[in-house]
């Protein structure tokens, strides 16, 4: 019973972070959610102790508040249109090989990285 309760305690922030972290592969998403849930519970307890408000009740409230905040963030960032239609969300970054954008939206991933295997033997095929 205690173990079930403990799992429940960690699964609340874990689930919140799981919903926040779309765009990850499943294993990475799971591991990061586990890390985030441990850190949330531990961090809440630490901050309460440092602020002088440590108590089991206030800790539970803090964990629930933080989880709610994260879940709210996840909900806010999801485009509503897609959320209703259950269409899988397009990846937040264009796939490799997509046209290079310009201007302030360019990130380093949009720039084509010169492949190491294209530089050495090219002269063989040149006239």
């Amino acid at each position: 019973m205690t173990i079930v309760l403990a799992l429940l305690l960690f699964s609340v922030p874990g689930a919140a972070f799981w919903s926040l972290m779309r765009g990850f592969d499943p294993v990475g998403r799971l591991v990061v959610s586990i890390a985030a849930s441990i850190v949330t519970v531990a961090g809440a307890a630490q901050i309460l102790l440092m602020a002088g408000f440590w108590s089991p009740g206030s800790g539970l409230v803090a964990v629930l508040l933080l989880s709610g905040l994260v879940a709210g963030l996840a909900r806010m960032h999801r485009p509503r249109r897609l959320a209703h239609l259950h269409i899988p969300r397009p990846p937040s970054r264009p796939a490799a090989g997509a046209a290079v954008r310009s201007g302030a939206n360019v990130t380093r991933r949009d720039l084509p990285v010169r492949r190491r295997d294209e530089d050495e033997e090219d002269w063989l095929y040149r006239d």
Binding site: L5, F24, G28, V31, A45, L111, R116, D119
Partner: protein, 738 residues
Amino acid sequence: MGGEARVTVRQASQSGGGAPRAQQAVQPPAPQTPRPVLIALGAMVTLGLMLFWLPLRGVDLEAMDGYGLIGVLPIATLLGAVVLVLTFMATLALARPHQLLLAAQILLLIITLHGVTLALEPIARFPTAWQTGGFIEYVTRNHTVSWDLDARFSTPGFFAFIAFVMKAVGQNDIEPLLRWAPTVTNLLYLIPYILILRVLRATWRAKWFAAWLFIAANWVGQDYLSPQAFAYLLYLFFVAILVNWFRHHDERTTGSGRRRSGDTRERTGGFWRIYNWLFGAKDPGELPAKPVGVREQSILLILLFILILVGTAAHQLTPFLMTASCAGLVLVRRCNLRGLPFIAGVVYAAWISFMTVGYWSSRKGELFGGLGKVFTNVQQSTGGRLGTASGATQDIQMLRIVIAVTVVGLAVAGLMRRRSRGIDDRVALVLLLVPFSSFGLQNYGGELALRIYFFMLPAACLLIAYLFFPAPFDAPRVRDPKVKIWLGHLRTGSRRHWPAVAAASVFALLLTGGFLSVRYGNEKYEQVRRSDVKAFDVMLRSTDGAVGVVWLSAENPELVGGEPVMPWSYRSWERFTRTPVVANRNNPADISQIVQRLKEQGPGGFFVTTRSHEDYQVLSGGLASDYAIKMRRALAASPELTTVFADTDAAVYRLKNPPAEPRPTVPEPAGLGMRNSPWTPAGLIYLPVLLGVLLTRELRRLRLPPNELRRLRPLTVLAIPLLISVVAVIIERFVIIS
């Protein structure tokens, strides 16, 4: 051989677009394992478990000598361990990975190696673990900490965390938690470790063997319920996130190697071979970074920041290693968060300055004395631990050093072997070297070498696995049958990995034997008996106020250090004080010193002795083995003393007529003890602003293309004066407060 591997890597990445899965897709599928083989392996696991666990019922722990548990384990149990190891290695010898079978065996290995005392000892082992329980109980009861009671209260994060979880789930008894902690923490360590393993350019054999080694090589016993164990988990998560999602975008040495110009490229000879080995063309030892969005990276960056904060509040050494490993990865261009080491460093320095005042204010000289005394630290934490211990304890200690040196040596050999194949394992190299940087820090009670080994383990296990399985990926090696190669029938064909698996099996068996010897090598005094706990309960019940514990030490603890090997202060921490009595080696019946110390304690004075404690004094202090029996007899017969509680395992005595004075007061909770100085309020304002600016700078960096990093300059300019101010406040605090 190196050239061959390089060409294949390139071809694989060409056809697969760099995706890790695609490399396997281009290969012909490995042959199916026949079902009977799998069933046989399953049966072997069951047999190994039964052989290991069933005979444990008959083990007589009382027969244990200085060599610890290994001396009393039945032959069948050891055979069971051998069967379990060989079954795992046989699973590695199969043609394709059977994830379920491998994972199940690793889980069973954790329970087998780290949980063997669960079946043998009635309550949780290890007095130090019980003291952690005392800190947690203190937080539960007082809802705060007290910086002046113990230095460990300066980093109370872990205690607050466990106290909260226990209260939230309604668990009031900490004993089950202490019992299961080593097993559970080792299980948890595997979660981030999987994430580290999956980014490596290695075969499935290397990865699974590394995971196996990570369990079996972790004999240092830092995985009990403690801040260190928790902070280590955070450290692993930190490193795993860095190497998975924040690797440098440009991680390749160019085709010709970066330091050879066109003229010198064609030259050969001994010098150039070494030059090439060092600087020549290499494939990174890691697979290409996973593509994720900027939004995901931002979330992860904030998570990394919180990991640093929580880790800093929980443990005093680990955040240093987080900072150092991140800085190391940045330096070797395997991490693009160049500002993160600064963030971690600022957090760490600020915590030490603001929160651990009670620790450093009283021992400034000592702190700087330890700083930089590398050689003394090395010597104290290796040879210094041998000291006056008995033969058996020294043997165990030597074996520990041998295992540690072997593990490091094999890891370096693994690194060399991969490098000779043209693979550049920079991440592993950094993670292997970073822990050594902490030798410059405090001596840490002579335990630093153990901790360095502990923090090296993730990389060391990986590199040892590379030593046996160095190939970057599992590919059929095609050979011209006309070409005769030396020992060709072993090195080609579908069974060509068998010699490597056999060699790895030998190492695995030796390591498992070593684990069972050294992990439980001090079990004679590291076990906690029911009466030990009861003795402290009795003392708390017999008096209302402070409890002055008088304990026997073979040597003067003021010179050599040392604490009673008992679960002292496992609850009601603030009520206990401890006063040592140095044993009179010539006359065990001489109890005048004990009586004298008891009188100094006032009404709450008790003399306590336990079997584990007595065994410790015999084994490490060189006391006569019948000393305790004679002393107890004298104590029981003394007209001045009365026996409060006594059985074969523990005994508590007090004065028949204790003096009414002195009556020491029980200290009230003192909180975190931040202490003030003229500049401190300014520091408290600058610090969050500085951290905010640095974090914003990193978030901005994620959004900028690599050639426009100069757009970070406004934030850098903003951060520098803030950083100078915070450093100034930290220095001011250090000078003013004493």
